[in-house]
Symmetry: C2
Subunit: 201 residues, 2 copies
């Protein structure tokens, strides 16, 4: 299968890329910089250019999407824009645009995160984006045509990045990165659709 | 208590207004037209003007918010704007802006809907908005200051509007409107926060 992993240069994306290549799949890495194909998912036009540049895709994985982290008391409407345009609409638009490019029986796998289910201080904007993606995926799954599938992965903080983020995730028990990337493989090579895989323990 | 009900001229909002008034509360009705205070929640500036015009509020209820309903195959990124700007960010901005206006120990109660949990054709955009609100509420609750609370209500289709919408909700068992408006009363007069009340049966 020919699989595009957007965010494939990041820690999580790279782990997914390695597992898919080990299974013999052809993987194209997408990202904002220094990728096989550069894409800014917050721009629908950039997404269109990406799909035109990488034809004949079976599957698309997004481990991309930026969010705002700040105390609610300080958050103004415009502070929310990054989460909306990048993590939420960026991933939604990968599907709205990509549904016309993927091959029959392909799939989309999007990324959310534990904050929506287990809130942390300053996490409301990210939670909003994550909750929007989760519900979009469940609903889009029944509307997608040509056998296209869609799932989302909600990872807990991972062991490999816990040290840098331990202040904001104090008291969380991190999970191995490998468990999270396994879920992406299951979404792509399996047959399920409309699912959310929560990798919390 | 002094309570603003945005969307209070609609069927659901009106039912909430009547119950709150019967309990002796002072209710101000907000809406796009012909309300005690006119507001377009898709505009942060309009929201600010509304809060300036209606001072000394204890509680804010939103039964407002528009969404796009269309087949996913036809949906372009821009078709999603209504759901994003109105139902999702309109309600989020009622909180981001309103947190600085409400009296201590006040509350916000927002509205989502069953489509995010029980998808219907053409419902992905609405589901996205509803899922975003649900997660935002859960997370915002731990960040709000001065004793402010926040909850969301996710209603099923109600008996009173089932006839007009029975084609898209075919096979759903509608619930009495009164059960849904009860949940808004519970959110306002109760002490819970960060909750989602699903009124599905």
């Amino acid at each position: 299968m020919r699989i595009l992993v957007i965010g494939g240069n990041g820690m999580l994306g790279h782990s997914v890329v390695e597992k898919l290549r080990a299974l013999g799949h052809e993987v194209v890495v997408g990202g904002r910089h220094n990728a096989d194909v550069d894409v800014d998912i917050s721009s629908p036009e950039s997404i269109r250019e990406m799909y035109e540049a990488v034809p004949n895709l079976d599957h698309v994985i997004s481990t991309a999407g930026q969010t705002t982290a700040m105390p609610l008391a300080d958050m103004k409407p415009e502070d929310n824009d990054l989460s909306v345009q990048s993590k939420l609409l960026g991933q939604v638009n990968l599907v709205l645009i990509g549904q016309h490019y993927l091959k029959d029986n392909g799939s989309f796998t999007l990324t959310t995160g534990v904050k929506k289910d287990d809130p942390i201080a300053g996490g409301a904007s990210a939670a909003m984006a994550n909750g929007g993606i989760t519900a979009f995926v469940k609903s889009a799954a029944i509307d997608l045509e040509r056998g296209l599938r869609i799932n989302s992965i909600s990872p807990n903080i991972v062991e490999e990045s816990f040290e840098q983020q331990k202040e904001i995730f104090m008291g969380f028990t991190p999970v191995p990165l490998s468990k999270v990337s396994d879920a992406f493989v299951k979404s792509v090579v399996g047959k399920q659709t409309g699912q959310e895989y929560k990798i919390y323990s």
